[in-house]
Symmetry: C2
Subunit: 265 residues, 2 copies
């Protein structure tokens, strides 16, 4: 078996792709990328041994409509991607376009918008699950720092099940500066911290633009961000074991905010 | 490198363990098992190359106090477990003891208890995250069917970060029979379904014993269970992309139930 090729060989018109950030895996991810139309797809590789089903047929149909090359390759070609649960299908796509915070603020004219800031989330599966949750709950964007946080990679794309194409990801150099800029533009800032006095449901989310800051899996939200926040809230834990996964913690909070909005309507 | 040994070699006093359901991986899982005292630990293996930190020292201390054998082994011995993110530490433990539903019902005398039923959840990481969420939210037990659902394996143990030792897992042969038994014992049954009319927050959770049924990642809750339920609820989705991860869906619902209980107090 040949090894996957490195970045320098991208112009080589070979049938392999390198394991890079611009490769997505699996039927759902590829289908989402095709239907959302937000990502430029360069090439789709399908295993010759794949079991054709509704999704695969839909992928072929959309690829043909959009003039995207797809190639049938021997299943051995996928061996380098074994860890990714590729389901016999891989697509090489344009890298995700991160949005600029200024651009986001400028274009956002709604009066009850929401953002999520991730302060040091390290796990790709968690970021993928957070993206899905945010899209389902109608969050308007996710802000991540350019360092000390997982970036959008292939695992994130796969775990997000395509949700990544339905929400702007905003990358900033400094979260503290981003928070200050949001405050200056009439956004309210809510940080989560296990030692907070108020519970997350004590906040009234339904009449303001707000941003929720979720901390790293172990370290939590950094002190400088806690200090800059308008509210600090906790999720009340019912057990001495109190380590809630960050995506599940966010889900509890963001759907409470949505509940408040919806019952008001 | 030698291969890990199979089940039939368990009496062989070798330094390896087989990849079975009674092996847990990683510092947090091992530490939780030692501190909870609910799982019998047979042996702990630590890599000779491990970076000793607070958790490792605590593990050594507790193992010595409890008279548990721990062995330092070459890091090559861990190669068979590479996919498990073992952090250089593995423990062989007694298998989880599943609880009987009759026993659970008999022992439960509280008037506002909660259970979660998983109907066909297939992903180990999801089950692990669900267990964590349930423990944090004070759920009293999780019911899984003995077939067509992931069982508690090593990945579940690891993903649950030890939460598995803080909640009864109830295994039943028939979910329909289990639901009927719960109803006969004054429990209210709430199923989730994307096409439901009511939202999950329309239910009043604070004055009853209730069980929430979560469906499989793709198929949802089975028809027979939907029919047997007292309430069917949905999570209102805010986007055409509406595929919420099952653990995040449960988190939204179970923390809403908890919110109702806590604000009533």
């Amino acid at each position: 078996m040949e090894k996957p090729e490195g970045k320098n060989n991208k112009t080589n018109a070979s049938q392999h792709l390198s394991v890079e950030e611009d490769v997505i895996f699996g039927k759902n991810s590829v289908l989402e990328a095709l239907t959302s139309g937000k990502r430029e797809i360069n090439k789709i590789l399908i295993s010759k041994n794949i079991h054709t089903d509704v999704k695969i047929n839909k992928i072929k149909e959309l690829a043909q409509q959009q003039g995207i090359v797809f190639q049938f390759v021997a299943k051995e070609k996928f061996q380098a991607y074994a860890e990714f649960n590729h389901q016999g299908i891989i697509a090489q796509i344009s890298p995700i376009k991160y949005m600029d915070l200024d651009e986001f603020i400028e274009n956002n004219t709604a009066s009850n918008s929401s953002l999520v800031i991730l302060d040091g989330v390290e796990d790709s599966h968690n970021l993928g699950a957070i993206i899905r949750t945010c899209v389902c709950a109608g969050v308007d964007g996710i802000i991540i720092p350019s360092r000390r946080n997982v970036q959008v990679n292939s695992i994130v794309e796969k775990t997000s099940a395509g949700a990544i194409n339905h929400i702007p990801i905003i990358k900033v150099n400094s979260l503290v500066n981003a928070v200050q800029k949001l405050k200056d533009n009439n956004w309210w800032v809510i940080a989560t911290d296990a030692s907070a006095k108020d519970n997350y449901y004590d906040v009234k989310y339904d009449d303001m633009n707000f941003v929720i800051i979720m901390g790293a899996e172990h370290a939590g939200v950094s002190k400088s961000l806690l200090k800059a926040s308008d509210f600090v809230v906790k999720i009340p834990m019912q057990n001495s074991f109190n380590s809630l996964n960050v995506s599940n913690a966010l889900s509890a909070i963001i759907f409470e905010a949505l509940r408040q909005k919806l019952i008001k309507k």
